[in-house]
């Protein structure tokens, strides 16, 4: 424990000074854990490579992809993709024991890599896999972890500045792990933009052994039951999203959101209270604890625009808000606003859209 953190809670000042212990000074470079399940890389990993690139360039260090998986072609493929999305080098732990995600084996693979090659920053996706792994790794390494960041930067001293919404209100906070390494952060899918893929040859790959046999791993995977395609909502990747909030007043009125979405061929979503009230299923929630979306058009009706909702929709190209209160915070970040009762406006909007868009539907049926 460094002296810097021994400041009393009340003053807090001294605790915010950087005093990195000598043995941690050799930690260098930015790492992104590339998440894959059954040979399928999660897109959040490429988004993180994009964000990691910016950090690495600012720090003047390398950006490394960490790939952990079965010893097969699919894993090699993921390594190749990581280079195409901007990694300078890759660390690879390939072993057939890593075919399925298991906490014990993956925690060992990642902590061993960190201890051997010492990164200063380690980023993971805030997915079920990433959250399961990040907590175990950070606790094993006894370092700091900032979950669900919405913004990453480095300050003048080269420390990671991780910004996330803070509880209960319209606030953000910036969190540092000044005196421990690596500085760990998780970021939810779709929060960072997807970088462009540029075809590249595989670069330098550093392989590391897992050092486990099956008997060392207590948990066994008996089966993997993939989700049915039809049951997955495509909300996070939709081009147009229509969402409703408490301002709709009743679960029946939420039907107006579904109808507009259906006419537009869009996905529908909602604010959190509607999930809590049981009006809408939880996979439709948009925001900090729901999905992050990046559509071309986002239509929000009867949603106030609290920070936890805002962070989920700020990546939208264009936001149209319908709200009865001209002071609603949603108008601070929407592009176009209508001060109106959504319950009355939505049906006429749906009707107008269906008139304008349906001639084409008839064309299609005719051809």
């Amino acid at each position: 424990m460094s002296d810097a953190t021994k400041a009393p809670a009340a003053s807090g000042r001294a605790a915010t000074k950087k005093a990195l212990p000598e043995h941690l000074k050799s930690y260098k470079h930015v790492w992104v854990f590339v998440e894959q399940e059954r040979g399928q890389a999660h897109p959040v990993s490429w988004e993180l490579l994009g964000a990691g690139r910016v950090l690495a360039d600012k720090l003047g260090v390398d950006l490394a992809a960490v790939v952990v998986g079965a010893k097969n072609e699919q894993t090699q493929n993921v390594v190749h993709e990581a280079f195409c999305y901007g990694a300078d080098l890759a660390y690879l732990v390939a072993d057939d024991l890593l075919k399925d995600y298991r906490n014990e084996s993956y925690t060992k693979a990642l902590t061993d890599l960190v201890n051997a090659y010492k990164p200063e920053i380690l980023l993971l996706g805030a997915t079920t896999l990433g959250r399961d792994l990040a907590g175990s790794v950070a606790t094993t390494l006894l370092t700091g972890l900032t979950a669900d960041c919405t913004e990453l930067d480095v300050d003048a001293e080269g420390s990671l500045a991780a910004t996330r919404p803070t509880f209960g209100g319209s606030l953000l906070c910036t969190i540092f792990t000044l005196n421990y390494r690596p500085q760990m952060a998780t970021v939810r899918p779709r929060v960072m933009p997807m970088p462009e893929r540029v075809e590249k040859l595989v670069g330098r790959v550093i392989e590391h052994p897992l050092g486990l046999v099956e008997d060392d791993i207590v948990t066994k995977v008996l089966a993997f039951l993939p989700d049915r395609e039809s049951s997955k909502s495509n909300l996070a990747f939709a081009d147009v999203v229509v969402a409703g909030g408490l301002g709709l007043g009743s679960p029946e009125n939420f039907q107006l959101i579904r109808q507009l979405a259906s006419v537009l061929g869009a996905e529908y979503g909602c604010s959190r209270p509607l999930v809590q009230k049981g009006w809408v299923s939880s996979d439709r929630q948009i925001g900090q604890t729901g999905k992050t979306i990046r559509p071309k058009l986002y239509i929000a009706a009867g949603i106030s625009g609290a920070i936890q909702h805002r962070v989920g929709v700020e990546g939208a190209d264009y936001i149209l808000a319908i709200n009865t209160d001209k002071n609603a915070p949603i108008f601070d970040f929407a592009h176009l606003g209508v001060i109106s009762d959504a319950v009355r406006l939505l049906p006429s909007l749906t009707e107008a859209f269906s008139k304008r868009l349906s001639p084409h539907q008839r064309d299609r049926l005719a051809s």
Binding site: K6, G168, T219, F333
Partner: protein, 280 residues
Amino acid sequence: MHIVVCMKQVPDSAQIRVHPVTNTIMRQGVPTIINPYDLFAIEEALRLRDTFGGEVTVLTMGPPSAEDSLRKALSFGVDRAVLLTDRFFAGADTLATTYALATALRKIGAEFGPPDIVFTGKQTIDGDTAQVGPGVAKRLGLIQLTYVSRINSVDTDKRLIEVERRAEGGVQQLQSRLPCLITILEGVNEIRVGSLMDALKAARATLIKWSAQDAGVEDITKCGLRGSPTIVKKVFAPQPRAQKAELIELGDNPGDALIDALFQRQPKLEGELEKLARGY
């Protein structure tokens, strides 16, 4: 079977307001509740106890007022409630929190029998990190099973457990060993209404209250703010976008007027929407 549930008392976030000038959270008068995600863990623990016999202990770290939530848990039929409370715990991040909870869990094990299963909720509604469960598991050397949607079987003789775990893109069926730590997914059960007997007992029960020292904390610098590697340097309101929304009036034919206004400002959208509506 001894089952311990780690739970947290949180402000009822729906009712939190932020002071418009000072940007501080106005806590006065905000009611507190058991973290809603933890209710699923409590219910799952009670169901296992009903099937296999044994006891359920709830553990919380928090201010003295967290007693309210512990009594609530007792009213559901939980057998024992432990409150870990000390000013040294204040300001803890996830790492410092897991240190304190793991220490108290060891003490619970020593006093009331080692737990077969430790439950936590998936995450809290205030901190929201989902990292405390995994951290506690690591510190205690327990197998960790996160995002569990179903416990398929428990074999108390062979010390085996089979669960379904929500993974990306599917469900893993896992077999593992007791003791383990489980973080339970929301919506998998519904918290029971406790019996009248339990309600009466809850009101009269003596809670077990431990300070850091009582719980067996050896290194106070690993607790609270001092034990937290992460430091909150800045709390701020989000930057308003340079431009606020352009507010428009719609007149008699609001649907069409709105579409016109939209396409006027974003001509590209017209083509995009037509393509989408055609089902591509």
